[in-house]
């Protein structure tokens, strides 16, 4: 029973016990492992997709940056699967919670920045001053760049949270509209239902795209700093 719009975003409990840990760990069950050369279709497809994404994403990095491959691949697969699983009815999506997204974004961003400051101090500090700025503007620009640097993890986390939450909310609202219009005028309900269909297709795309964007940005921060 949903009392208000946001009950689907509350921490899931089973008989009073929070099962959020199991929900976060669940997508890992969907990627079977095997040490055979030729496996079944689902493993073959997963291997193929992960290879494709890996090659495309890690091509721009130096060998030092490529040590993050496992991390970034796990990240994109986690975000993509949790987003996609959240589209199923009556499921809970961990990435709608800001806490989880902050937990993903801040350590990764901080790791990239600290790497940059530790190994390439001058390059990292030089990022604060874009080329060719007039001398009078330098202090203000440095302040602005610092602020933009510290906003990066916040932006990462909030972007993901907002997109997924907004998508879920919208689907819920339009579903409610369809339900309400069903008894009043069936044709309007049908139109609303079609809107819902389109929105669902968008949500599928958004789920994948958000995962991609998140990982891409982290990899970009890494690239700047290695």
């Amino acid at each position: 029973m949903n009392e208000n719009l946001f009950t689907s975003f509350s921490t899931p409990t089973l008989m009073g016990l929070p099962i959020i840990i199991m929900i976060i760990a669940f997508p890992a069950l969907l990627y079977p492992t095997s040490n055979r050369l030729i496996s079944n279709r689902i493993r073959t497809l997963q291997q193929y997709l992960i290879n494709l994404i890996l090659k495309q994403m890690m091509a721009i990095h130096s060998p030092k940056g490529r040590t993050w491959s496992l991390m970034l691949m796990s990240l994109i697969i986690f975000i993509a699967s949790t987003n996609l699983l959240g589209l199923l009815p009556h499921t809970f999506t961990p990435t709608t919670q800001l806490s989880i997204n902050l937990g993903l974004a801040i350590p990764l961003w901080a790791g990239a920045v600290i790497l940059g400051f530790r190994y390439k101090f001058k390059t990292s500090v030089s990022h604060f001053l874009p080329q060719g700025t007039p001398i009078l503007l330098i202090p203000m620009l440095i302040i602005i760049e610092t602020i933009s640097l510290f906003i990066q993890p916040m932006a990462l986390a909030v972007r993901l949270t907002a997109n997924i939450t907004a998508g879920h909310l919208l689907m819920h609202l339009i579903g409610a509209a369809t339900l309400a219009l069903f008894s009043i005028s069936t044709s309007t309900a049908l139109i609303t239902f079609i809107i819902l269909l389109l929105l669902t297709m968008l949500e599928f795309a958004v789920a994948l795209i958000q995962a991609y964007v998140f990982t891409l940005l982290v990899s970009l921060y890494l690239h700047d700093n290695t």
């Binding site: 009815p89 579903g175 369809t178 339900l179 669902t200």
Partner: protein
Amino acid sequence: MLSRVVLSAAATAAPALKNAALLGPGALQTARIFHTGQPSLAPVPPLPEYGGKVRFGLIPEEFFQFLYPKTGVTGPYMLGTGLILYFLSKEIYVVTAETFSSIATIGLLIYGIKKYGPSVAEFADKLNEDKLAKLEEAKQASIKSIQDAIDMEKAQQALVQKRHYLFDVQRNNIAMALEVTYRERLHRVYREVKNRLDYHISVQNVTRRKEQEHMINWVEKSVVQSISAQQEKETIAKCIQDLKLLAKKAQAQPVM
């Protein structure tokens, strides 16, 4: 520990048991049997090629077979319909906004799977096929290269059998060359020796001729010297008389 004490005590008590004491603790280990199973993991058992058959993508066929003896073909469908209507009517499952979004989502998923499922499955199968084909290709290439090596080896062995022809020809050549050189040298020796002998002969000839000439000259000179003037006049007068006589004789003889 205690067993060892017991065994040593028993050994001192009965000397026949002394042998037992020596292998006391070890015997305990060998009496136990470990690893009775077959722990080997190879060869890996094959995966089933197709999953179990399902109806509606969710319910396995075995369920239908399970209900068939009692309720026939329509049994599980009646059960399903009844359950769904029960949940709906008793509001155990409430129709909310989520219902419509779930209809949309699940509908979209089913449509996508029905439409693109076979092509994706074909793609996955092709990936596997390609992998196997590549390995097979490598294996075939390896076999072929080894086969080629074997054939070449056999050819080389056949050639080696015929090598003696080459050696015979070379031997003949060398013998002929030696013979030619020998004869050439022999001929040269002969020529040299002949040269020297010719030289000696010509030296002798020249000497003799010179001697002859010298002697003739000397004889002539001495004869000429020996003819005094008186003798010369007498000889010339006699010659003229002889000639006159001859002329007379010649005139007397008529030409015949």
